[in-house]
């Protein structure tokens, strides 16, 4: 059994790194796009508001598997074929962006209106008051829910296993013809792999939260 583990260690390690890479890239995409969408949703320009609302409502009601499906099998129809890994980053990132947007927007709504009013009274433009006054405060209140969204996202990257990305969950499928005890070991390793990402992530989030907490 030990031998089995040693033999397959490189495979599991690579799978773990793949999950980590996928999580980091998709997380960055989701954070950037989600914040942008949240800014759209509170902007004075109607088409942008409508666009962001449409985006969020669509992605929140679409299973992630369907998003994967459209990106892997649908994009080639408009001559935009992407690789499986790129597709996975896009799918998870685009999907999570909708939830990031909702979290950030609720944070923006939680900033007392007086702050935005004061910023406006000082003559800041919409962009300035959002950038300099509202968003920095919004991000503070939004860190716990944002952390939850990102942790859920790490778990969601497992779906890439169904689309030819050899990340952690896929290694379970790969090694499925091993015997009983061995496959149980793989299962434990996979679970441990996810914990290795989510536990430190949860810790970092709570540290950051305490660090930037502001008294109201």
């Amino acid at each position: 059994m030990v031998q089995f583990f040693i033999d397959n260690f490189p495979l599991l390690r690579d799978a773990f790194l793949k999950t980590l890479e996928l999580s980091v890239l998709a997380g960055l995409l989701a954070l950037v796009l989600g914040t942008l969408l949240a800014a759209f949703r509170v902007s004075p320009i109607l088409p942008l508001r409508g666009l962001a609302t449409f985006y969020v409502e669509t992605f929140r009601n679409t299973p992630l598997t369907v998003v994967f499906f459209f990106i892997i099998f649908g994009l080639p129809q408009i001559d935009f074929a992407v690789g499986f890994f790129t597709g996975a980053v896009l799918a998870v990132g685009l999907y999570t962006a909708a939830f990031v947007c909702e979290a950030v927007r609720s944070g923006i709504n939680a900033v007392p209106p007086g702050q935005a009013e004061a910023a406006r009274a000082l003559g800041l433009t919409f962009g300035q008051s959002l950038r300099e006054v509202v968003l920095p405060q919004a991000f503070r209140t939004v860190i716990p829910p944002l952390g939850n969204v990102l942790i859920a996202m790490v778990k969601n990257t497992s779906i890439a296993a169904g689309f030819a990305v050899t990340e952690l969950t896929a290694s379970l499928q790969r090694l499925s013809n091993a015997n009983g005890g061995e496959i149980l070991l793989v299962l434990l390793a996979v679970v441990a792999g996810y914990m290795l990402i989510t536990l430190p992530a949860a810790y970092v989030v709570s540290r950051v939260e305490r660090r930037v907490a502001i008294l109201r």
Partner: protein, 296 residues
């Protein structure tokens, strides 16, 4: 919406700027849509004849998609019923007066919430056979959904039960009800009313997750679309591929949007219901944990 706070009522200059931005924004959106349509059109995907296969009973496609939808809904329904029952049991267990029960139940809940749903499903589908238990794709998918969602629902139930005003259970004990009676007759009826919107929202999540059946080969909508494509390809080439995928995806989205609307409606209704008066709003604790409180 707090938006109006962020910008003044626009003056003439700002109005002109906004008008220009509106035009540019609309043009951009239209340009993207046009780009997609043109590309699709150039590849012949908008050909009405290609779409008609979706509605032509002779091709067998509508029936196949309908049955796939029923299979999807069946997994979701069966999963929801069992997850609710087990979740209720776990929630009561987690609130138990006996320490060992509490610890064991907490461990089960936290374990299943910490690992991805697909890993649970894979464990049932690929690991159990190694131990001599072979499950069908349907059983593995439903089992995974039940195990994962019962843990999520247990937390929702617990929050709901704890949200009932303490005076309620004190009064119930005061008139001499037993523990089980207090739970059954006093706490749960009030908690369930309060939890209904969250429950329906979780049903949407569960329905979305049933699409994971695609990966282990359960014939829900996506897998059905894929197999129809594989069936058509030898005879017609890639002619219907895109259309079938779009149809399967759209059905998922439509069903989910309808359920989400139902959840909103229920929440709206239960907010004014006087029967839930003795409860506080159900708020799941907002601290980040390994498990992540949100299921997205």
């Amino acid at each position: 919406m707090s938006a109006p706070v962020l910008f003044d009522l626009p003056g003439p200059k700002a109005r002109a700027r906004i008008r220009i931005a509106t035009v540019i924004g609309s043009l951009l959106v239209l340009a993207v849509i046009a780009f997609v349509l043109v590309r699709l059109g150039r590849n012949g995907q908008l050909d009405p004849q290609r779409w008609s296969v979706l509605f032509d009973p002779n091709s067998g496609v509508p029936q196949a998609l309908w049955e796939a939808l029923l299979r999807t809904l069946r997994v979701a329904a069966v999963g929801m019923v069992f997850a609710t029952l087990l979740g209720l049991l776990l929630a009561v267990g987690r609130l138990s007066d006996h320490r060992p029960v509490r610890i064991a139940v907490t461990a089960v809940i936290e374990f299943f919430r910490a690992i991805p749903l697909l890993v649970v499903i894979f464990a049932l589908y690929f690991v159990l056979p190694g131990l001599g238990i072979r499950l069908s794709a349907y059983a593995a998918l439903t089992g995974g959904l039940v195990l994962y969602n019962m843990a999520v629902l247990a937390e929702i139930f617990r929050a709901g039960i704890l949200s009932v005003d303490r005076g309620q259970s004190e009064a119930a004990y005061g008139i001499g009800l037993r523990k089980s009676q207090v739970m059954r007759l006093v706490l749960l009826p009030q908690a369930v009313r309060r939890m209904l919107p969250v429950l329906v929202a979780q049903l949407v999540v569960l329905l979305k997750d049933s699409s994971l059946g695609f990966i282990i080969g359960y014939f829900e909508l996506l897998r059905q679309a894929r197999s129809l494509v594989e069936f058509f390809t030898p005879r017609f080439g890639n002619q219907y591929t895109f259309q079938l995928y779009v149809a399967a995806g759209l059905i998922y989205i439509i069903v989910n949007v309808l359920l989400s609307q139902l959840a909103k409606y229920i929440e709206h209704r239960s907010r004014r219901s006087p029967k839930a008066a003795a409860t506080h709003a159900v708020v799941l604790p907002d601290t980040p944990s390994v498990t992540g409180q949100t299921s997205i």
